[in-house]
C-alpha cells in the first residue's frame, strides 16, 4: 500500500491553435493522500478543470496534447492505459462530480436509470438489484422519496436535488478517488451548505480521497486538508489548508483570500487583485503573476521562479514570498 491515492508528476497539457499554442497546464505535480481532501484553487482559465479532465483521461487528442511523467492511482500506473481499460476504471475507482448537473445528466434518461447503469457496468448486478441499490444510494445522499424519484428526469428536479443525484452517481461504486469540479458553484447558498456537508459526510464515512476543484476559497476553508493554488497553468503555492489561511506565502494566494467578502467586517471598499489572468496564448515573461503583483521586482519580470520548499509541507513559487503573518495581514 502506498500512502498516496493519486500521484501526478509533471502533467502538461496544451492545445495547438492556428494562432499559436495554448499551454493550459505547464507541468504540475499533485498528490492526494488516502482519505484526504485536496483542493485545487484558482481563477477561471488557470487550468484547474483541464487538470481534472487530464487525470480522468477525458481529454481527447486532438485537440489536446498532454504528457505526463507519472499518473498513479493507488499505486497503479495509469500512464499507458488504453481507453478501454480507462472505461473500466472510470466510475468504479475514479469518479467525477461535475459543476453543472443539468448538462452532466442525460436529459432523456431517468436519473435512476443513469445510476443503475453504473452498477450494471461495473458490477455483476442484475437490473432489479441495481434498481434496489440505486434507491439506496439516493436515500443515502438525502433525496426525499427516492423510490419515486428514480423515475424522474433531470429537468424535473431542483438544482440541489440534481447535484445530489450526481453525488450518488459518483459514489455509486465507492471509488477510491472522487474529483469534484466546482460542485456547488451553480447552487444557492443554503443549498450549497447542504451539499458541502453531504460531500464531507460521504467522504469521511467512506474514506474516499477527494480532489476538489474550485475558485471559491470559502468552500476550500470548509472542506480541504491540503490546498494547491494554481495560476496560469502552474502551481504557485501548496500547503496545508490551515497554514494557507493563517499565513499565505504567495502574493496571489494572499490576494485571493483578501478578495473574499467577509461577514465579520464592514468596509467601504473591497480588496481586489487588479487586472485578470493573462491570456494563455500571451503569457508574460518571468513570473506569470508579476503584472498583477504589488511586490514585483526586476527579477520577477525576467525569470520564472521555481516551486521551492519553504517549510515542511509547504511549497511556494515566488522570488519574494511573504515572510510572516504580520506582513501577510497588512
Amino acid at each position: 500500500m502506498t500512502e498516496a491515492m493519486l500521484n501526478l508528476r509533471n502533467l502538461k497539457v496544451a492545445f495547438p491553435c492556428p494562432a499559436g499554442m495554448i499551454r493550459a497546464v505547464e507541468g504540475i505535480d499533485l498528490s492526494v493522500k488516502r482519505g484526504e481532501c485536496v483542493a485545487l484553487v484558482g481563477e477561471s482559465g488557470c487550468g484547474k478543470s483541464v487538470t481534472a479532465l487530464a487525470v480522468m483521461r477525458l481529454l481527447r487528442t486532438p485537440p489536446s496534447i498532454s504528457r505526463v511523467d507519472k499518473l498513479e492511482l493507488d499505486g497503479v500506473d495509469l500512464t499507458d492505459w488504453t481507453d478501454r481499460q480507462m472505461r473500466d476504471l472510470r466510475g468504479k475507482d475514479m469518479a467525477m462530480i461535475f459543476q453543472d448537473a443539468m448538462t452532466a445528466l442525460n436529459p432523456v434518461m431517468t436519473v435512476g436509470r443513469q445510476i443503475e447503469e453504473v452498477y450494471q457496468r461495473h458490477t455483476r448486478m442484475a437490473r432489479r438489484e441495481a434498481r434496489r441499490e440505486t434507491i439506496r444510494a439516493l436515500e443515502l445522499v438525502g433525496v426525499p422519496e427516492a423510490r419515486s424519484r428514480v423515475k424522474s428526469y433531470a429537468h424535473e428536479l431542483s438544482g440541489g436535488l440534481r447535484q445530489r443525484v450526481l453525488i450518488a452517481l459518483a459514489f455509486a461504486c465507492l471509488p477510491k478517488l472522487i474529483i469534484a469540479d466546482e460542485p456547488t458553484t451553480a447552487l444557492d447558498v443554503t443549498i450549497q451548505a447542504q451539499v458541502l456537508d453531504l460531500l464531507k459526510a460521504m467522504q469521511k464515512e467512506h474514506g474516499v480521497s477527494t480532489l476538489l476543484i474550485t475558485h471559491d476559497l470559502s468552500v476550500v476553508a470548509n472542506m480541504a486538508d491540503t490546498v494547491y493554488v494554481m495560476y496560469s497553468g502552474k502551481i504557485v503555492e501548496r500547503a496545508a489548508a490551515r497554514d494557507v489561511f493563517q499565513k499565505p506565502r504567495h502574493p496571489y494566494t494572499q490576494g485571493l483570500m483578501a478578495s473574499v467578502p467577509r461577514l465579520s467586517d464592514r468596509r467601504q471598499m473591497f480588496v481586489q487583485i487588479p487586472d485578470t489572468v493573462p491570456h494563455p496564448m500571451h503569457k508574460p515573461t518571468g513570473c506569470y503573476f508579476h503584472p498583477r503583483c504589488s511586490r514585483a521586482a526586476d527579477e520577477c519580470r525576467r525569470r520564472m521562479p521555481r516551486l521551492e520548499t519553504l517549510e515542511s509541507h509547504r511549497e511556494v513559487r515566488c522570488w519574494f514570498p511573504l515572510s510572516n503573518p504580520q506582513e501577510a495581514g497588512s
Binding site: 431542483s158 444557492d188 447558498v189 451548505a193 476550500v220 476553508a221 473574499v260 467577509r262 461577514l263 473591497f270
Partner: protein
Amino acid sequence: MIGLEREAGPLLEMENVSVNFPVKKAYPFSRRRWIQAVTDVSLRVAYGETFGIVGESGCGKSTLANAMVGMVRPTAGVVRFQGADLYSLRRREFRDARRNMQMIFQDPFSSLNPRFSVYEIIREPLYIRGGATESAMKARVLELLKLVGLDEEDMNRFPSDFSGGQRQRIGIARAIILNPVFLACDEPVSALDVSVHAQILNLLMEIQRSRNLTYVFISHNLAVVKNICDNLLVMYLGTVMESGASDAVFANPLHPYTKALLSAVLDIDVDGSRERILLKGDTPSPIDPPRGCRFWQRCPSAMNGCAAIPAPLVEVEPGHQVACHLVSGFSREQLAAGAGEPVTSATGS
C-alpha cells in the same frame, strides 16, 4: 414602511406590489394556476442609498427588480418613481422616466448581443434616444470605456473576446451612458469568479459615489450585501421575511430564514465557532405557495399555526420589520386552537 424618511421623499416607492404569472394550462378546462412571484411587497428607496434585496433563486428578487424599472407590470400595487406612478404614466413620460432607471444584469454572457461590437453595445441607449451625432456618441463611449477600466482599442472588439468581468464592465458602461439616477443591479457578480467580485463591486461603488447614484442591489451573498447596503429586504418565495437598516438586521437578525441565510455564508475564517443552521429541503414552488407563512416547511422552529396563518410584517425596532410568528406571536384564540404547539412530525418537502 421601510427606511428612514428623507426630506426629499423617496426616489422609488413600492406599495403592496404583487406580480403573478399565469401557468400554462395542462388541459383546456383545467383550473388556471398562478405563479405568485411577488406578493404584497412594499419598500422605499431613498436618494443616494444602496438598497439590498436578498434571497435565494426563485424568491422573486428579479421579478421585483423588473417591476421597479418598468419591465413587468405588477398585478396589484403601485410603483412610484420620483413621485410619479410609473405604470399610469403616458407613453412619452414613461419613456422619459425609464431613462433615469437602468439595469445591470446577472449574466454577462447572455446580456450582451454577440453580434454587436463593444461600441455598438454601449452606444445603443444613446442611439435609441437619438439626437446625438456619431462623433459625440463616440466620444461619450470612449469616456465611459475609460471609466469602467477598458481601453480604446476594445471599442471595436466583440463580447466573445472578453472575460466575464470585462463583459460586466461593458454592461455597466451601457447602463450609465444616459446618466440615470437609479440602477437596479441584479446579481451583478454572481456569475463571476470570486476574485473578480471585488473589482466589479469596487467599480460600482466608485461610480455611485462620483455620480450620486441610487442602487437597488440584488444578491444572495449576505457578506457582499452587508458590506455595501444601507437598507435591505430579505425575501422568500415572493414575500418579505425581514427588512430594515442593514446594520440593525445584521446586528440582530430575527427571522429564522435570515439566520439560516447568515449561517450558510461560508467564511474563510474557519474556527468552527459559528453554528451552521442547515435548512431542510429546497425552496418550494411559487405555484400555489403555502397559505400561512411561506417559509414554514423549511423553518427549524415552525409551529402548528405557521402553516395556516400568514405572519404579519411587524416593526420590532424603528426601521426593522420582521414577518414571523415567533416575533409577533399568535392571538389568544389561535393559541387556544393549538397554533403555538411545535410541529410534531417532520414535514419538510
